[in-house]
Symmetry: D3
Subunit: 130 residues, 6 copies
């Protein structure tokens, strides 16, 4: 599980690294990709999926980064929290926005457990119509 540096990477891995750096307009590769590079297939698939999922669409890139961070905080993944906090800040998240994001994440986790512990049934109005 060593980290694969650009100089030591196969052509297949280098192609992904190049695309990451070009797409993100950066000149370095973060540890996540260097570790995933031990499994070139997962590296390529994960990067291509991530690029497609995080591209601007009906939601803007900042909103997507904040959603990513919300999930990562809820899962307690230290690396993911650190890297997506950096990404969200780069995309424009202010201190105040981060504070409110975390307040929502905290509150959602609290009420999720209240709902489950109190065994609340879904209101008919909230059920999906099929």
């Amino acid at each position: 599980m060593k980290m694969i540096e650009y100089a030591d990477a196969s052509a297949e891995v280098r192609a992904v690294y190049d695309d990451i750096m070009t797409s993100r307009r950066i000149d370095w590769i973060n540890n996540f990709w260097k570790v995933l590079a031990n499994d070139a297939k997962t590296l390529r698939r994960t990067w291509e999926s991530l690029k497609e999922v995080m591209a601007p669409g009906a939601l803007d890139p900042l909103t997507k980064e904040m959603l990513y961070l919300a999930v990562s905080a809820s899962n307690g993944c230290g690396y993911c929290i650190a890297s997506h906090t950096a990404a969200a800040r780069k995309a424009g998240m202010s201190d105040a926005m981060f504070g409110e994001l975390m307040a929502v994440v905290g509150m959602a986790n609290e009420t999720n457990r209240l709902v489950q512990g109190w065994q609340v049934e879904i209101d008919d109005r909230f059920k999906p119509k099929r």
Copy 2:
């Protein structure tokens, strides 16, 4: 753990119900609050916190509802997903926005586990400066 209807509620519970209906401009109370009303103190505290957390601020109400939904989907809380999908739609979430939100949630859960399973260390650049 029965549901407390308005007609059967104490003055303290009614005051919260009234505030929920006024703040949300609705004329009904959903099951979550009717069940929490068995513990009037938690009902009041939870509603007051939620009202404060979900109020417009640095983030708009739609973004907050989508963050709430992202956490609920990540926690697998059925009631929370159903009620906050409804709330997010009311706040303006389109089908396309929901689709992208879920794509980000799915992707974040995938990479969170890859990061943890591969034991990726945090890059120095991502560490908080203290």
Copy 3:
């Protein structure tokens, strides 16, 4: 994954069923055990572990049932919440105790996520001494 009724159970499974009914002073077996009985080895091991863990010791049975319920609510396991709410009530949990238990569970889930999202480092005073 059918449920194994007493009448259809092997001698090994019946021995566990008998011990469950004797230990709990009840005359019926709940679905969890009837389903686990498809794997007699896991049925026996789980029951023996549970009996040992839930026996009175430094903590009384009611406290143990409430801890069990707190974990189950935090994990969102519907069956576990329902069955351990019943068990905790039988052990003496009042409505007020349940309300406070859930308030703590909700609050702990909220602050757990705030801690992780804000990347709070452990205070030296809280670190275990080894």
Copy 4:
């Protein structure tokens, strides 16, 4: 995300810090609050909620701290485990009580997954009556 020391804190933050120290009869502030102080509103709301939730009521403070610890262990939140282990010990948790608490937490996590994986249906007797 720097830590806000008392000397550098706003009047609003200092008021919360003072209340924490008075309520807990301590003369220092742990990292959680110093980090949350970057978002004064969440600091205040979280402290006030926590103070209300953890106050003695139908459950005594030690039981509440143990429930908090059970949830934190179940969520795998390192900081929360460390700080609430300290708090529970201060409230009177012995080594034997901690050992039994953890045994219950472990067991509950095991049976929660057995229940879900085996798809156990809720017994009618365990369903809430509404």
Copy 5:
């Protein structure tokens, strides 16, 4: 969030449906894909990733299905447990194998929480060499 039947599907969605049925040698589409079809892009990306990930490689299809089921049971995802139990059985999982799989899942969840609650540090021998 209605389900998209083959007859009502767009050409893009039909192409994915056809590939699912051909690859799996079945003549029907399960609900997961019919619901995802509301977001054709996620449908296609998810199916292509899944097909690549679940293809025989260093691990055989049965092992992969059992790993999928282990994660789903650990996450408490009802639909995922039901569908991947069916898939694993089709790939050759016997009753005895399922029983042992669940026993491992239960045990892993128990010890995971013991490890975290007792704050066990990683042994030097277990640390990845980098």
Copy 6:
């Protein structure tokens, strides 16, 4: 919560340590057991359960270790991931097998959340027959 070394251990703890070393053909004890030894009863019960669960049966030891690792990665338990990666490698897991295992874990976590967020209902064909 100090670690109990062999030299300082009670006869009861030593008996478990001896059995661990004999069963695993190793001459050292890892931190998990040294910490659990603070609660001799949990040490013994956990070791006996683990030994029974991980013994070869319908599933071989390598498959069991990989299932254990899949759950640990999904729970984000650092120690468990590190120790069970080592154990799985010892049991024969190659780099390629680890890569595919993690790809399945990642994918399962992604689709688990898509299923829950999209509120997919269980197909009749997947429901257990009872």
